[in-house]
Amino acid sequence: MLVLSRKKDETIIINDQIEIRVLEVKGDTVRIGIEAPKEVKVYRKEIFDAIVHENKQAGASSGNLAALKSLPLSKNTEGE
């Protein structure tokens, strides 16, 4: 990992087009401004990781569909 120290209002530039600026430091919270081309996606990592994890769970090849029939959403023709 590249580690740099920045003070408020100082900036880091990545690949010519992505800029990351320290806007404010208050207690243990750092406000970070990001300028990037619109095709560059920026996410809070914990949200990104959570979605990746959820995708892994959803994409599981094992398990089976049977339990879906017990959901109130299911409109199956079998009796309760």
Binding site: I51, G59, S61
Partner: protein
């Protein structure tokens, strides 16, 4: 093309049924080809099978039947990448995490997949507003919708 899957059994898929996800799914950029499957015995759920990897099988549900007023937020770039479609013409689905106990079956409402059915292009988007849950329990879904 034939695919042997654990979740959906042996499938016979048509090449022109393939929906292309140019960026794959979040965390899985290498998986670009999917086919949506009807699951007549499990209505209203649908299946989504990854053509690139037979082990990657999904169940989908329309978020609008899970909660009231589900709205996706798409950027201009998202719309462009989906082939310049009107938002009303998009198909939106949530990925379902299966479980043997129906009370533990959840849908990811924070990371829906959005498909342009005409152009057969899809992408997964992240909705950062925490109004929608990552693990929305479907067992109580019937009661969370207004009648």
């Amino acid at each position: 093309m034939k695919l042997k899957t654990e979740l959906f059994g042996d499938l016979e898929l048509l090449e022109d049924a393939v929906v292309v996800f140019p960026e794959g799914l979040i965390g899985f950029p290498q998986y670009n080809k999917f086919v949506i499957l009807g699951l007549p015995d499990y209505h209203p759920f649908l299946g989504m099978q990854c053509v690139d990897d037979p082990q990657f099988s999904f169940v989908l549900v329309d978020p609008c039947i899970v909660i009231d007023d589900y709205r996706v937020v798409l950027s201009d770039l998202d719309m462009q990448e989906l082939g310049g479609i009107n938002i009303e013409d998009l198909a939106v689905y949530a990925l379902v995490v299966l479980h043997s106990d129906p009370k533990n079956i959840t849908a990811n409402l924070q990371g829906p997949i959005v498909i342009n059915p005409a152009a057969k292009i899809g992408k997964q988007i992240i909705m950062a507003n925490e109004q929608y849950q990552l693990k929305h329990h479907l067992y109580s879904a019937a009661s969370s919708k207004a009648v």
